[in-house]
Symmetry: C2
Subunit: 255 residues, 2 copies
């Protein structure tokens, strides 16, 4: 099992778009992933075509009622599985925030219930907040995928996150392997190239070569409950997420 | 004093960009506003050119040490004032989340310390999370300005927010006056027009006529610690935020 948290506390950088389309690209290659939606907004759940389900059938029940993860997992048409989210998740921070064991609850759930030896890639879509839920994701994962949209405030977010990760690595006793992927790259704007160059200077090999272009198909596919491969198979968005999946698989990011 | 919370739990929709540029547009018209940054990311603080200040000089000290708001307020070159944020704010949810009085702390601070009869417009930039800080902003304000970027997932965010506001209005005993403003509108995309039309159908008069275009000047100005009026005075971004300020002032949104 290889667990990857898709996180950046900066909002709107493409965490959900990246989780949705990487899950689909992995499924197409026979590496049927498990997606976990840990965002109270439940956008990954919605983008997978799952609408208005009770909180007892979501990851909220895992935290609030100790329901096993295997009981809330659902299969998707692509062959991937998803553990859906629910709006009620926003209560978790104030309900359990001061409970010392809460940050490793997801890690415990994953290691107890899922077969550790199976090569299932797990992708966790996080909310734009470094709270209890995102800390659960970071502690449960071996690697971090950090989408950054090609603009200044998002780049600031990554520099901040990098500093926060160094603080978290102390209790973990290891470096969290991470990759940064630039999203919403607009090849007509000098700003996009500036941002990419600055990130390459600062993060070197941790920055993916693949850049995800700003392209409308990626903004439209969630409205139809589909990933970009089934919604617009020949689009730029499909090419870019295919390239990203190849680059990450080749570098052993999902081993 | 007219307090407006700029909120949408969807990330990256232009909350900070709208707070920054509306503050500047109001200052240019002699209505010197107070901006409050309630986001641990502290992006409004950064966009106003304020870098690496200790948490004791920020709104974190108001919550953690009961420091008066008037002692953490700073003047900006535009004549506006700002109460800056700090990264440590992300602790507020788990430290004080279960304290019943916490949600009205900002309201108490504002009514005790600032002259209620002065016509100072207050704009609160919120984080993308309906937690303790954003609830503070909603309870302290008379009105809500909800930026929505012209895409499907952001539109979903507004529909969700609307449902959450109806729940909050019960204990408040009044309807929270709100305006939705479409941001990142790309006139080359059919999706932008679809989103605007759907929002108009659904929210009628609560939707601003003014749409903020997707334009690079708005993404660049924060990198220089400036608003769009001082960074690119003749740009589309400056025109659009001028029009938004006029529309909101004309409709008495800041009275
Ligand atoms: N490459 C792209 N091209 C065009 N639109 C994009 C692209 N990536 C993301 N978007 C759009 O931008 C918006 C923000 O993306 P998304 O919701 O995936 O970000 P997020 O980081 O998950 O946001 P949040 O912080 O709210 O969870 C979405 O509506 C999405 O459709
Ligand atoms: N009209 C616009 N045209 C071009 N870029 C824009 C526009 N509005 C916002 N942006 C860019 O999009 C990114 C997201 O905007 P912003 O940070 O203001 O959103 P936010 O809602 O405050 O995000 P968060 O949820 O993280 O607080 C920023 O980097 C900003 O520069
Ligand atoms: Mg998301
Ligand atoms: Mg912001």
């Amino acid at each position: 099992m290889s667990v990857v948290a898709v996180f950046n506390q900066k909002g709107g950088v493409g965490k959900t778009t990246t989780s949705l389309n990487l899950m689909a690209a992995l499924a197409q290659r026979g590496r049927y992933p498990l997606g976990i939606d840990l965002d109270p907004q439940s956008h990954l759940t919605l983008a997978c075509g799952i609408k208005s389900i009770p909180s007892s059938e979501t990851v909220y029940a895992f935290y609030a009622e100790n329901k096993p993860l295997s009981q809330i997992m659902r299969e998707l048409p692509s062959g991937a599985h998803i553990i859906p989210a629910h709006m009620e998740l926003f209560k978790i921070d104030s309900l359990y925030g001061r409970n010392p064991n809460i940050t490793s609850q997801l890690k415990r759930g994953l290691t107890q219930e899922l077969l550790p030896d199976e090569m299932i890639p797990v992708l966790i879509d996080c909310s734009p907040m470094l709270g209890v839920l995102s800390l659960n994701a970071v502690f449960a994962s071996q690697r971090l995928l950090i989408p950054v949209s090609a603009d200044y405030l998002s780049m600031q977010g990554v520099n901040r996150l990098d500093a926060a990760l160094r603080v978290l690595e102390k209790p973990l006793g290891k470096r969290i392997d991470r990759r940064i992927v630039v999203t919403r790259f607009d090849s007509r704007r000098k700003l996009s190239y500036d941002i990419y160059d600055k990130l390459r200077e600062h993060y070197g090999k941790d920055l993916c070569e693949t850049r995800i272009a700003e392209t409308v198909g990626l903004a439209e596919s969630p409205a139809h409950g589909r990933d970009v491969f089934t919604f617009a198979p020949h689009s730029q968005g499909a090419k870019d997420y295919n390239a990203l999946a190849e680059e990450l698989l080749d570098s052993g990011f999902f081993n």
